[in-house]
Amino acid sequence: MRILFAKLLVVVTGLLIVMLAFLFALLRNPSDDARVAAVNQVTQTTPGAGVVAPATSDANGRTPQATAAARGRAVYDEQRCRACHSIEGEGNTRAPLDGVGDRLTEREIRLWIVAPQEMNPAVAKRGYELSEEDLNALVVYVTAGSHQ
């Protein structure tokens, strides 16, 4: 009877855990609203904003382009993009990003970052929530000439 009691506790606990895991997934995928908002972030951005900029230098003598790429590199590291992607053979070579700027339009790249399911509904990649500047910088970095 004590073993039965222990088993009962286990079954109840196990079921509750699975139910709560279900709830967790539901809470994180509430509706399409969030995705629409993410897509809007891309479509409302002026194409090229932050990518093509006047060729003036900042205080360190770097062009805004280089500043953006450096920041993009930081975002790339922060978000651990290399867990699934590689650049110049560094990172996970399953999905290399070398030359991505030639293969995809800028808008497509942005969608792949913030709302990948818009590009391929079946893909198991999460959408990244980035500030406008970070997103721009990341796009600059992954499309930058050095690794195209």
Binding site: A6, K7, T13, G14, I17, L20, A21, F24, N29, E129
Partner: protein, 437 residues
């Protein structure tokens, strides 16, 4: 009452197993990962937290265990492990069926290290389960198994935490990383407590073996006395972990019922039957050897359940904790009526028979021996303790009494059912199972 406690502790368990997961929700508005992706992630996190909780369940925190009895906790540990394994196996399976490209991570040569860590965690966990569920079939020695069990458990948890930290999506924010680091550290802290702090405090409180006396039925009573300290206070019927001929750090301790009375003497007695690897060596222990004792544990005691009278039902060596209670009743001059049912195969093997006969004259005790193979001329009960035997000897006031049953699992379950059929409320039925070795 027991259900209320059970609900409370299940709630505590759920909070500790899932709280860290739901904290991850805070601050993330959307991810677009898809339902199944997040579900799989939740399973992984929950499974990891459950692995961590396994260490807490067996850390022998006396207060948390008291309402249940430690046996329930150990059975919970055993069966919830299966649930944790299923959740953790489901984590990559759900992810990979959502996105078959992830199967590429199965190849350690190409996969990033954190994916290999996750895979290695699953392998460790699977080995852990196989060696635990089929220990006897694999003829693993109990002590060797325990060391492997610890090593594999620490490896499985450490690798899972490395996997979480390495993948990093869900713990990217510094405070989430800090939180999960703290959670991981608390589990590892429990391990440190169990393996270092607790043995160290035992080492400072050694005991001397003062006697090892043979009992009927291949049993021995080991008597120990605290050396230079007060020992501990306990209730009759409780048990302790006993270490002989080893350091407390060596993980050679085994749980045994205390068969002595807590009244008067600081001596502790353990009546142990030769059943396995360790118990077979008891007879070679000599007076003067050092022992270490970690206790007391268990809720199997009359002191927690005041009643007008008690019924003790023992099978074989299950008499040990009941002897502790009988001796305590005698030492306290208790006059409440006690009925003892004691089942054994043969008359001459009845462990503690002489001590029971002596107790008859000291307390209000009635003894019913039930023999499987009675000698010639035996006019007492025979066979097993069943509802026939019980109803012949239990008084009409049986519904007011509290029952303490200790014996082999099959006997315990049969007696529980028989008593329930005789109208004894389940709340008055107390058992503790000792199939932990």
């Amino acid at each position: 009452m027991r259900l209320a406690w059970a609900a409370f502790w299940v709630a505590v368990y759920l909070c500790m197993a899932l709280g860290p997961l739901f904290v991850l929700l805070v601050g993330t508005t959307q991810t677009n990962a898809g339902f199944w992706w997040d579900f799989a992630i939740a399973l992984g996190f929950a499974g990891t937290a459950m692995m961590g909780m396994q260490f807490m369940l067996t850390a022998r925190f006396k207060h948390a265990m008291a309402p249940f009895g430690i046996d329930i906790i150990y059975y919970f540990h055993r069966y919830i492990a299966v649930v944790a394994l299923v959740l953790i196996l489901a984590h990559p399976i759900v992810l990979a069926s959502d996105n078959p490209a992830l199967l590429g991570f199965l190849n350690p040569l190409r996969a990033p290290w954190q994916m290999t860590a996750g895979l290695a965690s699953i392998v460790s966990l699977t080995m852990l389960m196989v060696t635990s569920w089929w220990r006897r079939r694999l003829s693993l020695h109990y002590d060797a198994w325990r060391r492997w069990h610890s090593a594999l458990a620490i490896a499985a948890l450490g690798l899972a935490l490395a996997h979480i930290g390495g993948v990093g999506h869900y713990v990217a924010a510094p405070w989430k990383r800090a939180l999960w680091t703290a959670i991981g550290a608390s589990w590892l802290g429990v391990i440190a407590y169990v393996r270092i702090v607790s043995p160290w405090s035992m080492l400072r409180r050694p005991y001397d073996v003062v006697d090892v006396r043979p009992e009927r039925g291949d049993a021995w009573t080991v008597v120990v006395r605290p050396r230079g300290h007060q020992g501990f206070r306990y209730h009759p019927g409780q048990f302790a972990w006993l270490t002989l001929r080893a350091s407390p750090f060596a993980m050679h301790e085994h749980p045994f019922s205390i068969s002595s009375s807590p009244v008067g003497s600081e001596h502790l007695e353990f009546t142990i039957k030769e059943l396995g690897d360790f118990t077979a060596t008891i007879k070679t222990v000599r007076s003067g050897e050092t022992a270490f004792v970690d206790g007391p544990y268990g809720a199997f005691t009359i002191d927690r359940h005041p009643a007008r009278g008690y019924v003790f039902i023992a099978g074989g060596i299950g008499i040990a904790p009941l002897m502790g209670m009988l001796r305590a009743l005698a030492d306290r001059g208790d006059t409440r009526p006690i009925i003892l049912f004691y089942a054994y195969r043969r008359w001459e093997r009845l462990t503690c028979r002489e001590a029971i006969e002596t107790l008859r004259s000291q307390i209000n005790l009635r003894v019913i021996y039930v023999l499987g193979e009675p000698p010639e001329g035996w006019d007492g009960e025979t066979g097993r303790i069943d509802s026939g035997v019980l109803s012949r000897h239990l008084p009409s006031t049986r519904r007011n009494l509290h029952y303490f049953v200790c014996g082999p699992e099959a006997m315990t379950e049969a007696v529980e059912r028989a008593l329930y059929d005789l109208g004894v409320p389940l709340g008055q039925l107390h058992t503790e199972l000792f199939d932990m070795a």
